[in-house]
Amino acid sequence: MTIAPENNMVDVSFTLNGKLVDVSVSATDRLLDTLRYDLRLAGTKEGCGEGECGACTVLLDGLPVNACLIFTFQVRNREVQTIESIDAHELEEFHSEGATQCGACSPGVVMTALWIRNHPSLLQTHQLSRLMAGNLCRCTGYDAIVKSLEASLSIQERN
């Protein structure tokens, strides 16, 4: 068997957490690996590598996507937001309600939750639990996640 050449590189520029970055990647590199191993942003996790668990959720032009299913070249000239852009004080309700246990799902859960929080009108057409269905959590049983998101939505509404 022969080894696919690794030198088949492409240059990609995109906006990452508000800053322009340039990377040189192989055409088949996943965004997840570029973030984790090339750009050393290890907050985004790999739980399955096949789009099922949501641990790798990032926002691409504001929409949640699975970074394990996206080639890095696909984000050329687009905007990527990862968990590293999030500050703990934005997540107080998640802290107090117990939305994280082991933490492996949490960065992905938080990115999806922030997307919902940024688009509360989604809740007019979708149930909260359905919107969270793409993020697996094996620890919490989801109740604490849903409650913290509800709490954080209602605080946002009051303000």
Binding site: M1, T2, I3, A4, E6, R36, Y37, R40, A42, G43, T44, K45, E46, G47, C48, G49, E50, E52, C53, A55, T82, I83, E84, I86, D87, A88, L91, F94, H95, S96, E97, G98, A99, T100, Q101, C102, G103, A104, C105, S106, P107, V110, Q127, S129, R130, M132, A133, G134, N135, L136, C137, R138, C139, T140, G141, Y142, D143, A144, I145, V146
Partner: protein, 728 residues
Amino acid sequence: MLRVEARSKLTGREVFIDDLPAEDIWWAGTVRSSLPRGRIRDIHFGSGIDWSSLIVVDHRDIPGPNEVQMIERDMPVLAADVVRHVHEPIVLLAHPSRRIVRQAVQAISVTIDPDEPMLDFRHPPTPQQIQYGSDNVFKKLKIEKGTVDEALAAAPIVVEGEYETGAQEHVYIEPQGMQAQVENDVLVVKGSMQCPYYIQHALMHALNRNEKQVRVIQTATGGGFGGKEDYPSIIALHAALLAIKGNRPVRLIYDRQEDMAATTKRHPALIRHRTGVDHHGRLLVQDIDVLLDGGAYVTLSPVVLSRSIIHAAGPYHCENVRIQGRVVLTNSVPFGAFRGFGAPQSQFANERQIDRIAHELNIDPVQIRKINLIKDGQTTATNQVINDGADRIQVLDRAIDLAEYHDRKKAHEVFNVQHPTLRRGIGVASFFHGAGFTGSGEVQLASQIHIHGRPDGILEVRSSNVEMGQGALTVFTQIVAERMAYDQDYIVIVAADTSVVPNSGPTVASRTSMIVGKLLEQACDDLSRQLNGESNTDGTALKDAIIRWHHIRPDQELIGKAQYNMPPDIHWNDLTYEGDAYSAFAWSTHIAEVEIDLRTFVIRVINFTAVQEIGKVLNETLARGQIQGGITQAIGWALLEQCHWNNGSMQNNNLSDYVIPTCPDVPPIAVEFLESPTPHGAQGAKGIGELPMNGPAPAILNAIAQATGADPRSIPLTPEQLMETLLT
């Protein structure tokens, strides 16, 4: 107290093993067996790979015995001549490029001459299939109380039943992984784990090193559920062998598919009951047979069997009980620890059996439990006298009230008559769970914990019990804060590093808060004593006293210590399996409501109620999280999570084909705690991590039986299986 490490987890700052910098890392891969049983004839290294650029390890590179040190030493670190299951590791590789490692693993072909595998644990082996002892039985255990045969002969009614439960995959969201390197002749292994000292001992044994030459450090562990109790020893050994041979830092991370294919799962079980009852439903005799599938190697199976049979008769009083247990070899990927450790299997069978008896006698499922639940002064199957002040009937009653059981049941009956295609039902399960190691296990562990009063006044807890999501860091912080009246900002729990922390035992068996937490209280008291009994109601004064102590004694260490001793009132006989199996049991009743669509046979759990007596609630949010998370995992086991086997290998080893509960699959779960403090736990707390795994499967199947009139006796009960049950 809120979870102490929550902010770093929520913001992705927590460092898991694969989050460490990877610049100089060599990535590892594993070449595995493709057959369930056979003799290795040839290992062929294919062309197109520059093999000299890789670190290559096989069994000949193991400096010590080729054995993974667990309960027994039957499992090789790497297969040498024979393989006993598909995915058994044979050759290890490492290279700086992950891509090249993946390709190199593919380029190796292993030729195996097949032998006849043993694949179905429910049938006795043929002579050609014997691979362990004379009968493939890893362990046989028996509990006997009263006179079972006479009581069965005399019982007015005898109900029989056979129950089956399937394997379950842990699906911790962080897959397994380890990193190893040699630093000044010390082998340093870091990774995702529950039991640092198990790993250290396994490394010392197979690598011929002393404890000074092996240092094991836990990194953030993204869920364990028992799956990171035994298997991490193997991954640690593999990473270490590569690191030693290549003298490079080596990282071995399983991707999800490899993790699901190669690592342990919950033991499948086949359980038979014969129960003698009187006409009111009083239990006269229970005759129970528990058979577990152990897979290819012993791993932790003997202790899983032990816990399984001790819980098999349920939280009921009965004068005559016989429980026989066996765990047997099959040529399947080994089964291992999983939350509940055999008790969910045996209590699933028991709670279905109780409901079926009620059905047969035409009495209410709640009533039959009320009649038989252990009252203070009565005994369990091992003749353990229960006198803990907990009221098991009150637990049941509270669950009934909270779930509005009787009203809901009536409403469902009306609904079922009226609705053309939907059926609803409500089911109950009462159960218990003993915390800590079984019998004399805690004495053998002899756990130790230290708390250092540092010169800066900080209290530093040193324990080998790890945080894996269950809240150990928070509970330990809270225990110290309350015992010493200390500000939580001045308390740290150091990382579990075998070169720093004493052996406080493995992070398993719901023992951390209760047993190790209790030791931590004692260590706190020991520290206070050394400060001349400085009061521990005033943390500020205590902190000053610690700082003063160091002023007077520079270069000395102030350490509060505690070591586990068997409480004098606990007696256990390992030979007869009689006595106090656990120093405390937590008690619980679950109530499940289901809705079934008769067109699709889809089963939805629509409501769930969990009431539990847990001694003392140390931290309400954490405790609720444990209960809700456990129930969700058990809903998956009951209804969704099916391993498809071929040649003892899981075929659906990915998260598209092996389905765990998602957010919309989980019903509202009402959780309520009752408290009857135990003298054997921190602040009176009992262990709760595993408890919630026991109830949901039987409660749900009892509800399905009630809704449909079916008599399902095996899980997972998928729509296909329910259809078969209903249409045949």
